[in-house]
Amino acid sequence: MEALQTLSWSDTWYLAPELVLSGFAILLVILDLLLPKRINRNVIGWLTLVGLLVSATFVVLLMLSLGDGTDPADSTPEFYSLLGGSYRIDDFGNLLKLVFLGASFFIVFSSLGTVRDTDVPVKAELYYLVLPAALGAMVMSSSGDLITLFVGLELLSITTYILVATRKRNRLSSEAAFKYVVMGGVASAFILYGMSFLYGLTGGTNFAFIAQGLGSAIENFEALLYICFFLMIAGFAVKLALAPFHVWAADVYQGAPTPVTAFLAVVAKGAAFAMLYRIFMNSAFLTPADGSFLQKDVFIALSVLAAAAMIVGTVGALRQKNVKRLLALSGVANAGILLTPLAINLTEMHASLFSEFIYFLIAYSFMNIGAFSVLTILTRDSGNESISGFAGLYHRAPWTAVAMTILLCSLAGLPVTGGFMGKLLILFGTFQTHTYWLGAVILVTTVISYAVYFSFIRQMFMRSGTVDAKLKMSVPATITIWVCTIVTLVLGFMPVPLLEGIDHIFSIPADLLVIQG
């Protein structure tokens, strides 16, 4: 292993998105302290948005500076590697960072003006803590080393523990935060323990190093590697809320303020997937092809987890009446679907796993943020988090009901929406690899989920609510809902430009695998 590089000043350009976020986070903490009490803390919310936008701009600039590898004469590197390969700026990381930043942006934006001081006394914290959380997610998606990965994971986790607890006067919130800390801590311990085996058996923490070392490790210490991978899988399953490790999700989602719930459902989940791709694509895939039982078993375990998550999540959601708990379980099912492209592994024919994954992740982010924004407005209006709060929405706010219907159709995977296209691509992957059973599980659970999502539609269009007054909408939330709805439709009707773009810039050797250290 080469000596640890030091960071030079010129490298800060590559880290600009992360530096901007941490800078803004520190500034906003101080600003919150110094600002007089009477000033509305929405200012901090707006500044948070500025920070996220500036960071996203840098990510885009970095993406543009990277080569796409299609032209051999083009000498622009396809990725930058910092600090001895422990931090990587590549298209995998950049795409995910954009998703995380975009999702965080819309979550904060839609909560401006809808979060009540009585509910969240420390509103400023709710806003500026999103920055370090997003930073953690970004570090995870950019890491080329187990340590960096773990640091990112902990940064994200610890920040979200606090975020969950921001409804200080609410017992559910405190309980949720406590459960989340305990479960999250246990999961981190499992992951770290698993990682320590990986380090012990290969002698390094860098992914490239691990990938090289695994070949001989597998011959001598197969049993230990089994323990290592299954410990990590268990830890990841908790973080991703995959069944049967999902039980915390419903409680935490319910207790957390709604914007934080959306953040957990989208950003925290996406970051955990980034971690999965980094580790599994760099370790399991590169072990001797077709030969190792370990490789097969790891991917079978992932497939089974995905199937279990879909089944348990969907069936569990059938009986839920509380919308946040319901969306938590629907998130469990969707995590199963998101896991599927990875679980069926990379093969000659099925090499598009990353575009399948990220396409559905983008669609999933928008439909979830849209749905959570509608929920935020409704709970602010009535304080009612149960599904009956949607009753008569059509009469109170017909256009919002229409937007919600489109978002729900996307969640249910009905055409022509982003959710449909995303699911179709993932399904196509399962059939390409002849993993018919997993495809069948996706489809059958999708049909069962109709009953879940259409129960909202029944409430909105076919029942009359207790209140007839027009629903008071906040402007940012309305804009968010419509942006999400329109993006959902565009993703359904025109998937090709985005997919072509991803296919163009993304290359497996440079972006997914960390071959060159």
């Binding site: 099925h350 090499a351 159709c409 196509f428 069948a440 049909v447 259409f454």
Partner: protein, 541 residues
């Protein structure tokens, strides 16, 4: 004159444009809304009629085919390139925008045009939320036309699913007392059917749809014609057994063929509906508003028939041929089960629902025959049943509006109060029981005739259904129209013009098809050639 127009796209998408226009109109102006909806239902009807006028069975409507690439999704080719040591020019998954008509879809398009127009006229009985109603109605129409026109598996699937969502709302908002349950059940059953269909389609796309064209363009295609072409091409990868590994391989094994075939049978069997999958449709028949049942019973069930012929029969002739007996038995069960239960119902809508099951059984017999006569009979029976049940539910709607009941024991003596409507009801009933000279007879006759060649006993048992049909039809019509007129119906008014117009039109068409069947049979002349040829070559080889 149609040559320069994308006429098929116009047929499919004018209702959608109509839906958008209705969306922009003020909701309080019910007349404007209705007029717009009627206009945008009429435009596709006119286009279909024009198409019908210039349609040449010999060329099979090929002139009007519209084919362009729709979604060409790039797949990552790096690993494939590495494996094959370079030279992979492109690697795509392509969904085409491919619309076409032929002898099978043409009659069903005519049926759709006619029944939808009658249904939009019958929507006068809708009393609330007109705007939403007409938007959904027009959306539904786009879905239905699309289903009958699409020739790309994914395009077909999308149109098929697009019909589900508006139907869910139309049943759930404007239906009767048990509407929400009926809507949910409709959605779940049909969703399961769609899931089965998508599994089958995806199996076909990753095997039959795969090809490597000149210049190393690797392509998965969902185009129906490509699949059909690869099916009969002995050099297609799907027909060469190289053993499928999990990672590589495109062989469509016998097991996979059977799996895909059975899944298609389930998918479309739910829609038809075939016996054990029929419970959802009973609820829809009784709970949905009559104008929507006209569409449902008149057209949507026929999407199942169409799918069975277009996909199950054309793509899997071999499998179908070895399962003709199964299909015929299922058909006979449908006929008898429906007919016998229809005899004991007290609710007129349920009588009609069970009679639909019975009549769709006859369609199955026609398909099971795998002979030109029988297959023509199946389509003919579909069209005829579509018209008859549309007419019957039109009358049901009008009666319910006046009496607030369709229970046989509540009704009676209506012949005195509403002679015109009772007369039309009698015509529809007689057509339904298969009286010669009306359309029902021709369809049943052709189907039974087709099957008689191969399965005499089953045909004979099936024909029993016609006897029961006479019993249940006459029983219910008699108890509605004959007998003393209850006091409370004395003031009843006969059909208004807006109600009478569709009734007369449908009745006239039923008579026309009854006395002049070649209108439709000529259309279908060459529709089944491809299928029958395939069966013959397989029999020969």
């Amino acid at each position: 004159m149609l040559d320069n127009l994308p006429v098929l796209s116009l047929i499919a998408f004018t209702p959608l444009i109509g839906a958008l226009i209705v969306l922009l109109l003020p909701g309080a102006r019910s007349n404007w809304l209705r007029a717009t909806a009627i206009i945008f239902t009429l435009i596709p009807l006119v286009l279909v009629l024009l198409l019908f006028a210039v349609y040449e069975p010999a060329t099979g409507g090929g002139v009007y085919t519209e084919h362009s690439t729709w979604l060409t999704i790039p797949l990552n080719k790096e690993v494939l390139d590495m494996k094959l040591q370079g030279g992979v020019a492109s690697f795509n998954l392509a969904f085409d925008y491919h619309l076409a008509v032929d002898g099978i879809s043409m009659p069903l398009l005519l049926l759709t045009g006619i029944v939808s127009t009658m249904s939009v006229l019958a929507s006068v009985h809708i009393r609330k939320r007109w705007k939403t109603y007409y938007v959904l109605f027009l959306l539904l129409l786009t879905g239905i036309y699309g289903v009958f026109l699409a020739r790309d598996l994914i395009l077909f699937f999308i149109f098929f699913e697009v019909t589900l969502i508006p139907m869910f709302f139309l049943i759930g908002i404007w239906g009767y007392y048990g509407r929400e349950k009926a809507a949910t059940r409709f959605l779940l059953y049909n969703g399961l059917g769609s899931a089965a269909m998508l599994i089958s389609f995806l199996i076909l796309i990753v095997t039959l749809g795969f090809s490597v064209s000149e210049g190393s363009n690797f392509l998965y295609s969902a185009n129906y014609d490509v699949l059909l072409g690869n099916l009969s091409d002995p050099n297609a990868l799907a027909n060469i057994d190289t053993g499928n590994s999990r990672y590589f391989g495109f062989f469509l094994s016998d097991n996979a063929r059977w799996g895909a075939f059975v899944l298609l049978l389930i998918a479309f069997g739910i829609k038809v509906p075939i016996f054990p999958f029929h419970t959802w449709m009973l609820r829809v028949h009784t709970e949905a508003p009559p104008a929507i049942v006209m569409i449902h019973s008149g057209i949507l069930l026929k999407m199942g028939v169409y799918g069975l012929i277009r996909f199950a029969a054309f793509l899997f002739p071999e499998q179908l041929q070895s399962w003709t007996t199964v299909l015929a038995v299922l058909g006979v069960i449908n006929i008898l089960y429906g007919a016998i239960l229809a005899c004991v119902q007290r609710e007129f809508k349920l009588v009609l629902a069970y009679s639909s099951i019975s009549h769709m059984g006859i369609v199955l017999l026609g398909i099971a025959s795998l002979e030109e006569v029988g297959l023509q009979g199946a389509i003919y029976q579909s069209v005829s049943h579509g018209l008859i049940s549309a007419l019957l539910f039109l009358i049901v709607g009008s009666i319910y509006e006046r009496t607030n009941s369709t229970n046989l024991s509540d009704l009676g003596g209506l012949a005195k109060a509403v002679p015109f409507m009772s007369g039309i009801l009698l015509i529809a009933g007689l057509a339904s029981l298969g009286l010669p000279g009306l359309s029902g007879f021709v369809g049943e006759f052709l189907s039974f005739l087709g099957l008689f060649g191969s399965m005499k006993i089953l045909t004979a048992i099936g024909v029993l259904g016609i006897l029961f049909a006479a019993v249940y039809v006459l029983r219910s019509i008699l108890s509605i129209t004959y007998g003393p007129l209850p006091e409370r119906f004395a003031e009843m008014k006969d059909a208004r013009f807006i109600e009478a117009l569709p009734m007369i039109t449908l009745a006239a068409l039923i008579v026309l098809l009854g006395v002049y069947p070649s209108i439709l049979t000529d259309l279908m002349q060459n529709g089944f050639n491809g299928l029958l040829e395939q069966i013959q070559t397989r029999m020969g080889g």
